[in-house]
Amino acid sequence: ADKAGDGQKIALVGKSAGNAFFEIAAKAFKETAEAEGATVDVVYPEAATADAQIKVLDNLISQQPDAICISANDVNALQAKLEEAMDAGIKVSSFDSAPNKDSRQVFVNQAGTQAVGQALMDAVLDISGGEGQFAILSATSQSANQNAWIDAMKSIMEGDEKYSKLELVEVAYGDDEPQKSTDQTAALLQNYPDLKVICAPTTVGIAAAAKYLQDNESACKLTGLGLPSEMQEYTGDDDAHSCPYFYLWDMEGLGKLSAYATMALVKGDITGAEDETFTAGDMGEFTITKADDEGTEIVLGEPLQFTPDNVADYAKLY
C-alpha cells in the first residue's frame, strides 16, 4: 500500500515543554504520521523563546529531516533559520502559532481569526444579556494570536449594530501567570463593579479568572478560550459556576490535520500555494486558502464550544 508518509522523517517543534494543551496535538500528530509510516520526533526548546527555538532548528537542520512542523514562539525571529532549512530542502509547515509568511510553506490554522473573534463576541453578547460592560483578560500584551483575536473582536463589535450596547472597558494582561491573572481579574472587578463579562482568550488566564470569580461568587461571568480539563470545575449554567460556556478548537484534529498537511508537503502533493487541495485521511478534503498575513493557511474549522453538557467528556481528552 502506498501510505501517505512512507519513510518520511518529520520533526515537530513545540513552543515549550510542559504545555498540556500542546501535548494533545503533538500526540495526535505523532500517531497519525506514524500510522502512515513516517517517523516523528517531537522536540521542545528549553524555554518558550524564539532564541531557544533557533537552537532547536539548528540541530534539526543538521539531522536533515524531510519536514519540520513548528509552532513558533515569535512571528519573525525564526525566519533566518527556517529559510535555511527550506534552502536545505526541508519542508516547513507550521500550526498553532505561525511564523511569518516567508518562513513557512503552509500554516494549519486551528480556527480562522474571524471565526474565533465572532464566536467570542457572540458569547459575550449572549452571556451579558445584550448590554453592559465587558473586559478582556489576555496573555501578554505581545501575544500575536491573542492580539489578532482581540482585534477581530473589536472590528466585529464596531461593524454590527447589535453589539452597540456592549462596552469594552479594558484589555488587561495576566502574562499567562496564575498569580498575575488573578490580580488582574480582581482589579477588573474592583475598577468596574458593574462588569458583566470577562472574556479570556488564553488558557491560563481563563482558568485563573474562573477560579477567582467562582470563589468570590461574583455576578460577573466568564467566557473565552480554555482547556476543558482545566475548566470543567467552573463550567455550569447556574450561579455556582463562573463560566457558562467557552471555546477551544479540536486539538486532536489540529494535530492530525497538521500531520497530513506536512506529509502531503513532503510527498509533493501540495506546495503550499493557494487553492491547492489535498485529502487528510478520514478528515476529508481541505483547501489551502490565503491567510491574513498574505501567506497561505489551511483552516481546521470552527472553534469548538464547550458547554456544561459536553465539558466532562472533553475533559477526559484534554
Binding site: 515543554a17 522536540v43 528549553e46 523563546t49 532564541d51 540541530n59 543538521s62 515569535d74 525571529a77 492580539n147
Partner: protein
C-alpha cells in the same frame, strides 16, 4: 640591599608548564576532548561542519561570558544582561527599519548596550551599599519593560533590511566570522584580566575591596567601567543574535545571564570573587556548546540537557573541593 639578617627571599616563580597541567584548565581541556569524543559517538550528525554551522547562536552567549567573568571576579553579579540584549536588539532593528546605514545600526546596538551598562554602573557606584543582584534585577525588569513598550502589541519586530546582518553572519570558508571575533575578544579580555594592571586591580577588588581601596585602586571607577563594558558586549551579542533571527522580540536574550554565569563558573571563575581566569571560561564555554549541540542533535529532551549541565556545574565545583578535603585529611594522617 639584603635585610639586616642577610635573609634572601626567593623571587623565581615555578615553571608555568607544571602549574598548567595540574590546574583546572588542564582538566577542562581533557574534558573538552572527552565531550567531543562522546558526542561524535553519540550523534551521527556531529562533525566539524555541523558544529561550525550550529555554533554562531551559542557564540553570541560566549561573548557575554567574557565581561561576566570580570564581574564575577569582582565578586559581583549582573543579571540584567539578557534584558540589555533584548533592548539593544530591539533598538537596532528599529533603527535598521528606518533605513539607516548598517554602521548606524551597529552603533545603535553597541550604544544602547553601553548606556544600559552605564546605568547599572552608575547606580551601583553611587549607591555602593546596594547589592548588585537586586539592582540588576530591577534594571532587568526595566530594560525588558522598555523593549516591551517600544515593541508595543505584537511584541516582535523584524529587520526589513537584512543585508548588514547577513554580512556579519557570514563565513570565511566554513568558519563564521563570529568565531574569529570570539577568539579575538577572548584573547583581549584574557590578556587584560591576566596580564594588565587593570586586571590585577580587578582581582584585588574581588579579593579584598577595602585593601584595594586603601592601596589607591580606583574601586568605583573600575566597577563602573566593567559594568559599562558588560553592557557594550551585550550590545554586540544582540547584533549577532539579530543576524541569526533578523528580528527581535520581548523574549530575546532571556536567560542569557544564567548561561553566561554557568560558563564562567564551570570554567573555574568563582562567584565569590578573586578567582579564575578567562582561559577556563573559554574552554568551559566550548565544552557546554559542544555538549548542547551533540545532545541536541539526537533530540535529547531539553530539560534533560539542562539537568546534565546542572549536574556538571555542581560537580565541577564540588569534586575538586571533595578531593582537596580528602587529600588534606590523608596528608594530616601521614604527618
Amino acid at each position: 640591599m639584603a635585610g639586616k639578617s642577610g635573609r634572601s627571599i626567593n623571587n623565581v616563580p615555578e615553571s608555568p608548564v607544571k602549574k598548567m597541567i595540574f590546574s583546572w584548565e588542564g582538566i577542562l581541556v581533557l574534558l573538552f576532548i572527552a565531550v567531543n569524543i562522546f558526542c561524535a559517538m553519540f550523534s551521527e550528525y556531529y562533525n566539524l561542519s555541523s558544529l561550525l554551522r550550529q555554533m554562531p547562536v551559542y557564540l553570541a552567549e560566549v561573548f557575554m561570558m567574557l565581561p561576566m567573568a570580570y564581574i564575577l571576579v569582582l565578586g559581583e553579579i549582573d543579571i540584567s544582561v539578557g534584558a540589555i540584549v533584548c533592548l539593544s536588539a530591539t533598538m537596532s532593528c528599529i533603527v535598521c527599519n528606518a533605513n539607516a546605514p548598517f554602521i548606524v545600526v551597529v552603533i545603535t546596538a553597541l550604544g544602547v548596550g553601553t548606556i544600559c551598562g552605564a546605568v547599572n554602573g552608575f547606580i551601583l557606584t553611587k549607591f555602593q551599599e546596594l547589592p548588585p543582584m537586586i539592582v540588576t534585577l530591577a534594571t532587568q525588569i526595566i530594560f525588558r519593560g522598555i523593549s516591551e513598550i517600544v515593541l508595543g502589541s505584537g511584541g516582535s519586530i523584524s529587520a526589513s533590511n537584512t543585508d548588514g546582518f547577513r554580512a556579519i553572519g557570514g563565513k570565511i570558508g566554513n568558519v563564521p566570522y563570529i568565531l574569529f571575533l570570539v577568539v579575538i575578544l577572548s584573547v583581549i579580555f584574557a590578556v587584560i584580566l591576566g596580564k594588565s594592571t587593570f586586571g590585577r586591580r580587578v582581582y584585588a577588588i574581588g579579593t579584598n575591596r577595602l585593601t584595594a581601596y586603601y592601596s589607591g585602586v580606583h574601586v568605583q571607577k573600575i566597577r563602573f567601567i566593567i559594568y559599562t563594558i558588560m553592557g557594550t558586549v551585550s550590545g554586540l551579542c544582540a547584533l549577532f543574535l539579530v543576524s541569526s533571527s533578523y528580528g527581535a522580540n520581548t523574549t530575546t536574550g532571556n536567560g542569557f545571564e544564567m548561561d553566561a554565569i554557568a560558563m564562567a563558573v564551570f570554567g573555574g571563575i568563582s562567584s565569590t570573587g578573586g578567582k579564575g581566569n578567562i582561559a577556563g571560561g573559554f574552554i568551559s564555554a566550548f565544552i557546554i556548546v559542544c555538549l548542547r549541540v551533540g545532545l541536541g542533535q539526537r533530540n535529547v529532551n531539553a530539560q534533560v540537557i539542562l539537568l546534565i549541565i546542572g549536574v556538571l556545574l555542581i560537580a565541577a565545583v564540588a569534586l575538586p573541593n571533595i578531593i582537596g578535603n580528602v587529600k588534606k585529611a590523608v596528608s594530616m594522617k601521614k604527618n
